[in-house]
Symmetry: C2
Subunit: 951 residues, 2 copies
Amino acid sequence: MDTLQRDGDDMEWKESARWIKFEEKVEEGGERWSKPHVSTLSLHSLFELRTCLQTGTVLLDLDGYSLPQIIDDVIEKQIEDGLLKPELREKLSYVLLRKHRHQTKKPIHRSLADIGKSVSSNTRSPVRGPAAGAAFHRSTEDLRLRQSASYGRLRHAQSRSMNDISDTPSTDQLKNKFIKKIPKDAEASNVLVGEVEFLEKPFVAFVRLLQATMLGGVTEVPVPTRFLFILLGPAGKAKSYNEIGRAIATLMVDDLFSDVAYKARDREDLIAGIDEFLDEVIVLPPGEWDPNIRIEPPKKVPSAEKRWVGLDQHVATPVSSSGGVRAFPISIGVRGDVVWPSTPVTPPLLRPQGVMESFLGTAMAGSMFCLFAGQPLIILSSTGPILIFEKLLFDFSKGNGIDYMEFRLWIGLHSALQCLILVATDASFIIKYITRFTEEGFSTLISFIFIYDAIKKMIGAFKYYPINSDFKPDYVTMYKCECVAPDPANATLFDASAPVAPNTTNVSLSNALNLTALDWTQLSKKECLKYGGSLVGKSCKFVPDLALMSFILFFGTYSMTLTLKKFKFSRYFPTKVRAFIADFSNVFSILLFCGVDACFGLDTPKLHIPSIIKPTRVDRGWFVFPFGKNPWWVYLASALPALLVTILIFMDQQITAVIVNRKEHKLRKAAGYHLDLFWVGILMAVCSFMGLPWYVAATVISIAHIDSLKMETETSAPGEQPQFLGVREQRVTGIIVFVLTGISVFLAPILKYIPMPVLYGVFLYMGVASLNGIQFWDRCKLFLMPAKHQPDYVFLRHVPLRRIHLFTLVQIVCLAVLWILKSTVAAIIFPVMILALILVRRLLDFVFSQHDLAWIDNIIPEKEKKKEDDKKKKKKGNKGDTLRSDSSPNGSDMDRSITLHLKISCPSSPAFNYSRNPICAVPQVKIEMESDYEDSDTEKAPRDMGSETTL
Amino acid sequence: MDTLQRDGDDMEWKESARWIKFEEKVEEGGERWSKPHVSTLSLHSLFELRTCLQTGTVLLDLDGYSLPQIIDDVIEKQIEDGLLKPELREKLSYVLLRKHRHQTKKPIHRSLADIGKSVSSNTRSPVRGPAAGAAFHRSTEDLRLRQSASYGRLRHAQSRSMNDISDTPSTDQLKNKFIKKIPKDAEASNVLVGEVEFLEKPFVAFVRLLQATMLGGVTEVPVPTRFLFILLGPAGKAKSYNEIGRAIATLMVDDLFSDVAYKARDREDLIAGIDEFLDEVIVLPPGEWDPNIRIEPPKKVPSAEKRWVGLDQHVATPVSSSGGVRAFPISIGVRGDVVWPSTPVTPPLLRPQGVMESFLGTAMAGSMFCLFAGQPLIILSSTGPILIFEKLLFDFSKGNGIDYMEFRLWIGLHSALQCLILVATDASFIIKYITRFTEEGFSTLISFIFIYDAIKKMIGAFKYYPINSDFKPDYVTMYKCECVAPDPANATLFDASAPVAPNTTNVSLSNALNLTALDWTQLSKKECLKYGGSLVGKSCKFVPDLALMSFILFFGTYSMTLTLKKFKFSRYFPTKVRAFIADFSNVFSILLFCGVDACFGLDTPKLHIPSIIKPTRVDRGWFVFPFGKNPWWVYLASALPALLVTILIFMDQQITAVIVNRKEHKLRKAAGYHLDLFWVGILMAVCSFMGLPWYVAATVISIAHIDSLKMETETSAPGEQPQFLGVREQRVTGIIVFVLTGISVFLAPILKYIPMPVLYGVFLYMGVASLNGIQFWDRCKLFLMPAKHQPDYVFLRHVPLRRIHLFTLVQIVCLAVLWILKSTVAAIIFPVMILALILVRRLLDFVFSQHDLAWIDNIIPEKEKKKEDDKKKKKKGNKGDTLRSDSSPNGSDMDRSITLHLKISCPSSPAFNYSRNPICAVPQVKIEMESDYEDSDTEKAPRDMGSETTL
């Protein structure tokens, strides 16, 4: 939209607003574009526009090649129709062909040069105009995208010698980066409004060109013009003209009206289009809204199809979530995110399986899977439940005198076999009984274990490095720790017994001989104890600074990661920089606190990785021999624990696969549930033979993988959300990730600078972050929120709060029971306990109505769903819609809100041995993908997960 | 709005929505009210409503006393007019008198009892209705406040035996807490809409009662009904009826339409009212907005007066910010905040003035001022600039051999005299040259000093308690610190010289005698050094844990305070609990970290307050004698430093007073600038004689004081912001604060548990928080933000970004220069430097246009302002408005966005002596009170500060 402005004797068209779906206004003083916002119009202006089109000149399919020619034609037509006095032709033509000035950014570096200028232009007071008696003229110019049936608005200009406008795009136009926001086949609609003294009644023209034509400097960017709206009127009503200009501009970006404008045969078609638009507008009462508030563009607007349907049937139909095809050109771009597994893909240390096994196993299993599996977007990892189970197994076999590696091999083989049987029997149907209740209970438990372990290890540091709280700086002289030689009697005894001990080395022998000659004060703590000395002194059992330093590193890393993650939503720096910082927040935190640690130079525990590639235990090779160490019945009995392992693997693998293959990801490759499970089984057997950890699909990492491969539309209208197009499906990225994991074995010299508390800080963050996306956790929080502050969760609209609280309480009780069981000897039946969760959930069917469960637990049983479908069919014949339909979970055209399991494995190291428990449990994060709809009429209810897949 | 619903054979009216200014919808499934939101209507429904009123029955001033009688009258009228067949009378009457069910909260504790119920009601699927073929009926009922010209809508009921409705309010109605949201003189409008099978054309009635009447159980709460709108129609168009009901409900809460409805003489008046409403409605284009999105109530809506003006003149006039009188009843309540000085009001320690002087001085000066000053809401304190100056003065006099206390007394007396001269000469006009530029530069500097000092003291801890970074836990035996006796030769020397030293005490004498017999290993560090021993060992110069513990306490307190402050805006707990936690965030943080400190039991530095009331220095009493210690010329020369002090006091005092007396606070008591300054002068003299610190108005504390005394409307419509009424002006609260400050001297036994790092953490928080409200700081942040992410500051709309950046850069350079000067010997002329800032600001007039400065620096010079006024007068005669007027800073009907100085003094203690600098500088916090207007048309520009006061 261009405004006609008078600068002394000169007039020019000044761009005052533009529309690309949403309105952007030129902020005169600020010399910049406003944020895109929803156009708020007055009803009055729409009616005035209607009148304008009824009385003004409407030229459809004018064959125009340049602005002067078009203007001539329009004026000629007006004179013909007796709307315009012939003597005004020259004046009007002069005004309409004035130069067009566009709002473009001035570079900052010009500011200093402007200093002098602005002093001299002190008179540039914004109210100068009227004081000088000058009338302001405004014209409008808009840009709009088009594809098949849409278009845009541009602007227009003219020179003092009758024509200021060139036919070729100017350098400014070509340099304007704004063109990137406009699709290549977009056409413009130019709106020119303003007031001039010589007119007595308004001059109105609506022009559609036969062919979209480049009108040179009229447009801000070189886009061909298809439509032209001109409104020039007598002085004194500029504000009103401006509003009419805004109205037509807003209409031209409306999908339906633009279609009408393209196809209109005559004036009446256009007016009918306005009437249709009016029929659909949303009205805000003046007493409840300030018209000056700029409304932010909504996340989603009804698609044109829906609106067509609405117009045709005049029945409010529930809007499906997937939306219609956008009448909008999309150009494909790829988000440039780097696939960085959010944590080193190293599972925690099991005693016979160290860091070396983790790295190599992950690299081998992961790349094999990516090469051959049905769904190569899935990333394998050693997940939490499996690791917990392996730890329990290890303790069990140790306690019962069974050789662990051989036992484990047999369990692995049995489990692999069971997996293959599952594949063969098409058993994936079981997954449909695993609802949100089970998933979330399970993953919350894992998150808690993760948080608990991180904190426990931190507290361990305080025990391992005790702080001397009685220390008084002034009495520093009182604190020492001396190695005192043993009593001569004992010393002799030691001396005498030394040769008897078979494993006494030469060194200790020679030392033992010199024992009496030893300078005891020069011995270290370990040496002193070794030679039978005793430590005497107040400072012996204390270690200064290390505990507090560990805490600072631990908590600092945690807070820093949290802060950097949140930085993504701050206002600072361009989006890409922020995304980069947030994506790599844990890397930055780790680096920073490694630096802090290095600055202090304290002897904090560090991460150590062996620098030679060999099994962690010296007494075994890379192959576990299946026979000879255990009695024969163990080979058979291991089928029972194998069953538990199979349950775990099956659950982890299939839930992840369902999430990866979900509809929203728009994958083109078909799912391969059984092929995937087949490969997991095979890898299970291989890993068991090699003594490597077992691997299964890791949900978080897989989801992160998919997220990084998402494609979105690159050019979208300012203020509009980019549209998701699909995922770049291939096998390369996964393989690269795993090859790099393998290579990281050689990074030992670098990794040894990482203090363990820093890593525990990252794990604490992961545990806490993983709780955040879980609906169960959201519901727990509701207990603490007064009703009026509660977020507008969909389920809160449909299920009474007390029912939700009851459901949450049941989950809390289940979790408490699981937690207690986990800490007892019953822990080995962990997988069965998870199956028990499914049973509890089935029992809830008798306590909660299916309607409530549908909203809280996102599941509608099959029979209920069928009923719904039947109803739907009936409804189609039924003209009237029901008042209650808004609260009905709509069974078919909505997405299943599947929860994502975020599984993170954690590295551990023998070097940091103040914690007894080498297991670092793995959290599962659920990221709810459900989009909250703003009103119940369009709300989606969940549908059965099983029905969506081909299981 | 009540919906007619069929439950088997029964029908009942069910409340489906209510309007108290904003709409609240009943969420069927959730069994609760939605959040208040702006009613989004369809244009269609408004036109249909218009038709309804044109064709239906309109009964104005009906003399009704009960619902059955009113219904009878309405039906009678319809039959009379031939709109209704007489045989439908019974049926219609039966439907309209059905029972009314209201949406009330069910208590949570009923949830368990509901378990069984919900299982049996499994069939309560929301789409059951239409499946059973039943038609839904809906009616509308709204509640609305009224005063003089507004009203509300209620609901309606009826019994099976023709009348379900009692005339007296039910227990449910009386128990309903919702009544608190409705003013006492509110009247209701009931909207009843629904569909019935027996009607062939709609039955429409609009009834205004002569007297507002209690219609018993019709309304959710016992509010008398004035208006009744009934729409019953043939089956199949329930949705449409519902929309019409919503439209009339929205109209009835509109200030202008409600006025029309009260005064309407006939049907045509009502229709004209709708037309006026339509003329004003705001229209959102369907393609840019989803009608299902619930729009949150805006912070501010145009007042009815403004809209009347708009209607009368049909000219868009700039809307004044102060707003019209709200056509809304307000009941007065007081916010229950506790006045808690955000920090102990103890100034830092000057060497001759310790904690004791601070406490007593603050208590004495503060309560005196509160008792006698012109503006008792001002709280006196020892502010930052004064303290800095005193410190410089102390160093100066020490360096030049001048007795400080006497010198200071004379300066105080001169300064007091100068203050009185200023009072006598009415010199406060100078203040108008102090613009935002100067204020913010000054306060940012103070904030930086505050942050700098807190961090410096923290780093000091690391120097004072050095960490042994080479410590290896295993070599603990190598670390000790032994006191080694001096060489025998030296010892003898010491022994011999001991009696010569005049100040050797008896104890040391006797010790000296036994020196050779001394057990050196049993001596503490201090004793060892005292007796000439030397400390030998690796651990001598290190102090374990204390530095890191101090850091944890320091940073923990800072982060905790920050987090708790933010907790105010969280969703958890009721508003009052959150406000309590946020208001006392520093108390909670201090308590928590004192607890942490106590748990570890480490010897961290603590806050110590003397337990006996006496001057800190033993060599002086409570009265400083004016003569005898310095040469006579010092008495005269002290007038020069006194001038600097006067400048500081004058600036601090007057800026604070202007802020306290500003228009927005709606104070009824007149300002007393000169009386205030008079008392500050008198107290200055008194404090100088007693050797107490000097006191001046402390802005932050004064503002906090005022905030805690603010009165707001208690009942406001859901979703509406409470209205500010005024401040409880009195002298009691201030005096109580100061009496309590005095009493805190006796709290020494408790305060000694507070570690100093905790206090420094609080100071760091204050320094950082004080930066947050400063516009200069906001502008600094703009450097880091891409243009599209920048907040919508008013000045950004009117001043080009590069000009803003230039202005900010000038400020940064000024600050850097001030900072450098402060660190050199030139520091003593600190007050003059602040005057230099004013000069720099005057020079900026030649670099920036007055328009730009008006927006960035919030000032329009007097001449410019007059011009504007002239223009305004001219404009009044001018019908047409200018296109550019939106960017004009409107000179007179807008508020001055005055910045608040937040001054915080900090306690210090001799006990914590690792920092060399006992001065704890004081930050000034600026809280911008400017309200950001959403569009330029109503934006307020600042006006000259001086012009607002009577200076």
